[in-house]
C-alpha cells in the first residue's frame, strides 16, 4: 500500500501547508471591498497577461498594506484563470460576481463583448482600459462600460496623426500605402472603421492583412507585406503574435522603424526575444514604464520587500505591469469617489462604483499624490464620456528599452465623436434601448 501512504502524506502536507500560510484569496467578508480579477497566466497570451495580472494584484496588496484599504475598508480579491477564452471568461465572471463584485476588467476584447450583455443585468461596471468596444465611450448608451484612457479608434487615430506628422503633414499621406496587420478577431478589426474613414479623408490606401489567432504562423501575411510594399505597417497584435511579427519583419527585411504597434503591441515581452532585431520599432504608450515612480517604489517597499509580491521583483514597473496597476488604481479611485457620495468607510456596491467611475476626476495634483506623477495623463469622466482621456504617446524600442519618441497626441474628437455617436445609436436601436436621460446621469 505504498500509494495509499503516499496519498496520505500528500494530503497531510497540503493540510499543514494550508494552515501555515494564510490563503491569498481570502474569502470576501462583509466589510471588504471585493475585486474579482479575471486573468490569464497560461496559454499563448500569458507572457502579456501575467505582468498585467501582477500589476493589478500588487496594487491591491500595496493599498491594503500602506493605507489599510480605502478609507479603512480592506480590499479583497480573487483571481480566476480565463486563458483568454470567452467561455471560460464567462464562467469566471459568473463564479466571482456573486461575491459582491466592484468592477471587472476582463483583459480580453472577446470576453468584454460577451459580458457587455450581462453586466447591466448584474449591475457590475466593466472597465476596459484601452480595449473593448470603441463605441462604448458613449456613456449615454453604454451605461456600464468604461473604455478609460482610450479605445482602438483613438489609438488608430493617434497613429495616423503621428505618421502624418512624420511625413510633414496629413495631406502628405495622399497616395501612401498603410497596411494594418491585425489579429483576426474583434480586437484586430475594431480599428478598421476609423482607418477607413481616415483613408477616405487623406487619400491613403489601406491594406488589411489578417493574421489567424493566436498568430504564431504569419508567413503569408508578411509575404503580402513584401509584395505590396506598404509605406507603413500598423501592428494590431497581442501575445505571441507581436514578437512573431517582428521576427517575420526582420526575415522579410521590412524596416522596423516603419512599423507602429497599438499599445497592446508595445511592451517588453513583445520585443525582448527579438532584441536588436526589433530596434526602431514603434508602438503607442498609454503609460510609462520603469521603477522610478513613487507608486512603484511603494509597491516594492510595502509588498515585494515583505515577500508578498505576486511576480518577480525585476518585472515590477514593466509596461503592462504599470498598465494593470493603473486599471486597478482607477477601480480603487472610483470606489473612493463613490465613498465621498455614498458614505466614507462603507463597502460600495457595483452600482455605486459605477457612479464613481463616471465621476472620476484625476487632475495632475491628484495623480501626484497617488504617486503617479508623469506615469499617465490626467483623466476625467462624465456621464456622456466614459473614456476620460484620448491622449497617448509613441515610444520606440532601442534594442534594450522603450524610449518616448513623440509628444502627447490627442485623438481628433471631430472625427471620433460622430463615429462613436453613430455606432452607439445603432447599438441602441438594435437592442431597442433608449438613451439615458439627464436625470439618470445624476443617479
Amino acid at each position: 500500500m505504498k500509494l495509499k501512504s503516499l496519498i496520505k502524506g500528500a494530503v497531510l502536507a497540503a493540510l499543514s501547508l494550508s494552515s501555515l500560510l494564510t490563503a491569498p484569496a481570502a474569502l470576501a467578508q462583509a466589510k471588504e471591498q471585493f475585486f474579482p480579477l479575471l486573468v490569464y497566466r497560461t496559454g499563448p497570451y500569458a507572457p502579456n497577461g501575467v505582468p498585467w495580472a501582477n500589476g493589478k494584484q500588487d496594487y491591491i496588496k500595496m493599498i491594503n498594506a500602506r493605507d489599510g484599504g480605502i478609507n479603512g475598508v480592506k480590499i479583497s480579491f480573487e483571481e480566476c484563470e480565463t486563458g483568454y477564452a470567452t467561455d471560460r471568461g464567462v464562467e469566471c465572471y459568473e463564479r466571482l460576481k456573486g461575491k459582491g463584485a466592484s468592477m471587472i476588467d476582463p483583459q480580453a476584447t472577446g470576453i468584454t463583448f460577451a459580458l457587455t450583455e450581462k453586466a447591466p443585468v448584474d449591475k457590475i461596471p466593466l472597465v476596459t482600459l484601452g480595449y473593448g468596444l470603441s463605441a462604448s465611450q458613449d456613456g449615454g448608451v453604454f451605461k456600464w462600460n468604461f473604455p478609460l484612457m482610450g479605445s482602438y479608434w483613438t489609438a488608430a487615430d493617434i497613429l495616423i496623426q503621428h505618421i502624418g506628422k512624420k511625413e510633414g503633414g496629413l495631406d502628405k499621406l495622399k497616395g501612401k500605402k498603410i497596411a494594418l496587420v491585425y489579429h483576426d478577431s474583434p480586437f484586430g478589426k475594431e480599428p478598421m472603421p476609423l482607418l477607413e474613414e481616415r483613408s477616405k479623408t487623406h487619400g491613403f490606401e489601406l491594406l488589411k492583412i489578417p493574421v489567424t489567432a493566436p498568430g504564431v504562423e504569419q508567413k503569408s501575411a508578411w509575404l503580402q507585406v513584401r509584395q505590396q510594399r506598404p509605406d507603413y505597417v500598423l501592428l494590431w497584435g497581442w501575445g505571441v503574435m507581436n514578437s512573431t511579427a517582428l521576427k517575420e519583419a526582420q526575415a522579410t527585411g521590412y524596416p522596423r522603424d516603419k512599423m507602429y504597434g497599438v499599445w497592446w503591441a508595445g511592451a517588453e515581452p513583445d520585443v525582448k526575444d527579438v532584441g536588436e532585431g526589433a530596434k526602431g520599432y514603434n508602438a503607442l504608450a498609454l503609460n510609462t514604464s520603469g521603477q522610478t515612480p513613487k507608486v512603484i517604489q511603494d509597491i516594492i517597499k510595502h509588498v515585494h520587500d515583505k515577500g508578498q509580491g505576486t511576480g518577480p521583483k525585476d518585472e515590477v514597473g514593466s509596461v503592462l505591469y504599470t498598465r494593470g496597476l493603473i486599471i486597478q488604481m482607477l477601480g480603487i479611485e472610483a470606489v473612493r469617489r463613490a465613498q465621498e457620495r455614498f458614505g466614507k468607510g462603507k463597502v460600495m456596491t457595483g452600482e455605486q462604483v459605477r457612479w464613481g467611475l463616471e465621476n472620476l476626476a484625476l487632475d495632475q495634483k491628484k495623480l501626484d499624490s497617488l504617486g503617479l506623477a508623469g506615469v499617465m495623463r490626467p483623466l476625467s469622466t462624465s456621464c456622456v464620456d466614459h473614456m476620460g482621456s484620448v491622449t497617448a504617446r509613441v515610444h520606440t524600442w532601442d534594442g534594450a528599452k522603450w524610449n518616448f519618441s513623440s509628444d502627447f497626441i490627442s485623438a481628433d474628437e471631430q472625427i471620433i465623436k460622430p463615429m462613436v455617436k453613430a455606432a452607439a445609436d445603432k447599438y441602441a436601436s438594435d437592442k431597442k434601448l433608449t438613451r439615458r436621460t439627464p436625470q439618470d446621469c445624476q443617479s
Binding site: A14, A46, V50, T86, D87, F113, A114, E190
Partner: protein
C-alpha cells in the same frame, strides 16, 4: 433484485417496441426528467445555471448530433464547430433581418441551413473514408471560419465581426433569467434526444449502423450508401446547427467566429469518444465530463483551502484532466456509456452474481 424485468410481459408489438421496454428504466427516466425540469430550477443557484448547466445542456445536444454522424454512421467529422457556426449565424440572420421572427423558428431555420452545408461537405464521404474524411471535413471548419470572418453580410456589417442578440422570447414568454434559459434549452434537448433515440432505433438508424460496420456489406444487402451517409450528415448537422444557435443566442448572447473554432470541433469529438460512440446517453456523459470536470478541477484547490497560484491551479487542471481522459480510455475504450451499461447488467444480477 429491483432492477429486473421478471413478470413484465409484453402482450403487444407496441409494448415491445417502446424506447424503454423495462419498467424500472421508465421510472428512472421519468424521475430524472422530473428532477431536471422541476427540482433543479427550484434549487440550483444562478452560478450553476449560467456557468455549468446551460453550457452542459447545449453541448450535450451538439454531442448527440455528432454522435449520430460519428458513433452511428462511422463518418469521422472535424467540422462540428463549423456546422454550429452556420446554425448560429444563419439563425442570427433570420432573427435580425426578418422583423418579428419567432426565436424557435429562427433556430430551426438555422439548423436547416446547417443541414445544407453539412450535406454539401458530406458529399466527399461517398468517396473517401476514415481519417481522410476527417481531413476533408476539416476543410469545412476552415472555410466556414473564413467566411464568417470575411463576408460582412453574414455578420450584418458589424465592424468587429461580433454579433449580438437580445430580447429573446418564445410565445410571449421572455427567455432572460437563467432558469428560463435553462428550461428552454432543456426542453429542446429533451425533444431532440428523444427524436434522435427513435431515429437510431428505426430503419434509418440500422442503415447508418450497417454503413458504419461495413459499408460494402451494407451496399450488398441493398442499403444505398449515398442515402445513408448523406442522411446521417443531414440529421447530424441539423442537430448540431440548432445547438450552435442555442450556444450563440442563449449562452453567449454575443459571439464571434472564435466561439466555434477548431477547438470546439475537437472538444465535441472528444465528448463523443469519451462518452461512448453510438450512444445517446453517452453524449450526455461525454458533455458532462468535458464541460464540468475542468471547472470542478479548477475550483478544487479553493474549496479545499489549499493556497495555490492561479497559474498552478490551471496547469494542474490540464494535467489531471488529461490524465483522466487517458485513464478512462484505458479502463473502458468504449466510453462512459459502456461503463453505464455494465453497471446496469451487474445490477440485474445483484445481489446474486454467478
Amino acid at each position: 433484485m429491483f432492477y429486473r424485468e421478471n413478470g413484465q410481459f409484453k402482450t403487444s408489438y407496441k409494448a415491445d417496441e417502446q424506447i424503454f421496454p423495462i419498467r424500472q428504466d421508465r421510472i428512472a427516466i421519468a424521475l430524472l426528467l422530473a428532477i431536471a425540469f422541476i427540482a433543479v430550477p427550484l434549487l440550483a443557484p444562478e452560478y450553476l445555471f449560467r456557468a455549468i448547466l446551460i453550457p452542459f445542456v447545449i453541448l450535450s445536444l451538439a454531442a448527440i448530433g455528432l454522435n449520430i454522424l460519428v458513433g452511428y454512421c462511422g463518418q469521422i467529422s472535424l467540422g462540428t464547430g463549423a456546422f454550429m457556426a452556420v446554425g448560429a449565424y444563419a439563425a442570427y440572420n433570420f432573427n435580425v433581418r426578418i422583423e418579428g421572427m419567432p426565436l424557435v423558428l429562427s433556430l430551426l431555420l438555422g439548423g436547416a441551413c446547417a443541414t445544407l452545408v453539412g450535406v454539401l461537405f458530406g458529399i466527399p464521404s461517398l468517396r473517401i473514408k476514415g481519417l481522410y474524411l476527417a481531413v476533408a471535413t476539416l476543410a469545412a471548419q476552415f472555410f466556414v471560419d473564413w467566411s464568417f470572418l470575411r463576408i460582412k453580410w453574414f455578420t450584418n456589417d458589424s465592424s468587429s465581426g461580433s454579433v449580438t442578440v437580445s430580447g429573446l422570447q418564445v410565445l410571449g414568454i421572455p427567455i432572460e433569467s437563467p432558469v428560463q434559459k435553462y428550461l428552454f434549452c432543456l426542453t429542446l434537448v429533451t425533444v431532440f434526444a428523444l427524436m434522435a433515440k427513435n431515429l437510431v432505433r428505426g430503419a434509418i438508424g440500422r442503415e447508418w449502423m450497417a454503413m458504419r460496420d461495413m459499408d460494402v456489406a451494407a451496399a450488398v444487402i441493398g442499403i444505398r450508401p449515398v442515402y445513408a451517409k448523406l442522411t446521417a450528415f443531414a440529421v447530424s448537422s441539423f442537430i448540431v446547427g440548432v445547438a450552435g444557435g442555442l450556444w450563440g443566442f442563449v449562452h453567449l448572447g454575443s459571439w464571434e467566429p472564435a466561439a466555434f473554432s477548431i477547438d470546439r470541433s475537437f472538444q465535441l469529438l472528444f465528448m463523443v469518444i469519451i462518452g461512448g460512440l453510438g450512444s445517446i446517453m453517452g453524449s450526455f456523459f461525454g458533455a458532462a465530463f468535458i464541460v464540468i470536470l475542468p471547472i470542478f478541477l479548477n475550483q478544487l484547490p479553493a474549496w479545499l483551502n489549499i493556497p495555490m497560484s492561479t497559474a498552478t491551479a490551471s496547469h494542474l487542471e490540464s494535467m489531471i484532466f488529461g490524465a483522466l481522459i487517458v485513464f478512462f480510455l484505458i479502463v473502458e475504450p468504449h466510453g462512459l456509456a459502456r461503463l453505464w451499461s455494465i453497471a446496469k447488467e451487474k445490477l440485474r444480477l445483484w445481489p446474486f452474481p454467478h
